[in-house]
Amino acid sequence: MAAPFLEVRNLVKEFGELRAVNKVSFEIGADEMVGLIGPNGAGKSTLIRLITGILKPTSGQVLFKGEDITGQPIHKTVNMGLASTFQIVKPFRHLPVVANVMVPCLCQRSRRKGEWVKTVELRARDSLEFCGISDLALEPASVLSHGDLKRLELARAIATEPDLLLLDEPFGGLNPAETRLVAKSLKRLHKGGRFGRLHSEGPAMMIVEHKLTELMPMLDRVIVLSFGEILAVGTPAEVVSNKEVIKAYIGKEVKALATQSG
């Protein structure tokens, strides 16, 4: 059998006394859309950072496409096809929006030999258009609102043409209309729908999110984290009816959710 697409083995991260991620193991397939949910402080963001390599794990392994990427620098994992967004947006504030997205278009992975700068700009604009902010392309990133910055962050991540996309709260700070828009485009991206000339096949995704109503219908599988440990894994319908998950995280709204995602 071929090696799994992304495999996380016994990942542990300690901040001093605190064990933020405790022996987490799971796998993601190349065509899956996985949600990572859990209460605040459960270690979701830490887990994402451990996978991308911003943080170094205390112990455990991360394997991507059969290669060990534990503790590799971020730019290497990105060039292997593992892109991520940050929960707190970090744009290049003084550069125009399109230049923000041109930078990832220049990385080793998405660079074309002998390509004109004009073509790079076109690819960057494709990715902006996909996220719906192409009309702001020439404005400096510092004038953008938080919702637009969030979408810029997404555009920056997909400009590297990833095989696996790790999204840390892509809907955070977005209003309901924008949320639906982004959710729709994420689904389209995953299905390999037309997206400029960038993707022939959609990337696998792992999404950390609290807005379950929008998130759940998109997902193939959900992983629930609580206090750094995996509480439950399963399809959205299974997870929302799981007693422990209800107790730890979802609370009473469960019925509405179950009917929507089921």
């Binding site: 125009p96 990385c107 080793q108």
Partner: protein, 354 residues
Amino acid sequence: MTYLLLWYGWFRGEILAIPGRVIALLFFLVLFGAPLVTQDPYYLRMITLATIFALFATSWDVLSGFTGQINLGHALFFGVSGYMAGLLNTHFGMPPWLTIPTGALTGVAVGLIAGIPALRLRGIYLGLVTLTFPLILLGVFFTFPEFTGGELGISGIERLAFSRILSYYIVVAVFTLSVFFMWKFTDAGSKIFRVGLILHAIREDEITARASGINTTGYKFLAFAVSGFFAGIAGGLFVHYMRIAAPSMLELVFSFQAILWTIFGGVATIYGAVAGVFILFPMLELLSLTEWGEQSRFIIFTVILILTLLFMPEGLTVWVLDKLEIKCPRCKLVNVFTRRTCRACRAPLRNQEN
């Protein structure tokens, strides 16, 4: 004839329409035409030195202004390559056109060796570490006086060219080519180099740049190398022009002077560094001609610097260009301040009420 018209069209659109470029064009015309007006050695010497220092300040701007790697010991590049050029010339009799590039490459090599431990640090800590490098080297030079001349330095170095005018033109030509290269190298909107955009990105947010798949360490080394090379060229020119390689080239004050000039003119704009040197350096020199100026010139210098930082915090050139140029709100093209509509897209440049 058609080509002439085409060329004129390009010239009008790309240079005459943009006030900043008109000023730059006038500046270079004056620089190249100065020996035709005056051949007074004092003034020629002043302009030549200003040109060399402008090259030095510009190279600092490439590293610290554009890439954000604060280097407080930029004199390291200047001094090492200057000494190297001097040694090669006096010991092996190599001609200046060979010693200056060799010296500059040596400077780059030393800078990169120093950069390996230093580039693990960020921000002000990098600044503190780089601050020490020239001082350490100065100590090394004083330990081997028979080779480096100790406190006296190396004297009797060959002059740049046999005539004063020719030296002037060599320095000015090298300066023009280097500044043009550095301008294109660091320009984020450049159609030739893509490095400029990445350097800007590294200054803005290094982690995001890395999360975009950019090997930031490699690009930081590149910035170190390019900046060190041009500072080294400036050092070599200085040594061959002054015919002496003195320890003062490695002193702290000299590193700081590049920073002062650049901040006065405007950080992260190549022209700012050039303007800073060409305003401040001749001003200090000319003040020393009179007796009262000789005594109070550093007070005047300080007052001007403080006032600049107070009223033009982004630097003199940025402030001036802000008054002369208007960016079109729609297409972001630069227009002269007298225009009411954008020259390309006809969008109104100001609100119509006023």
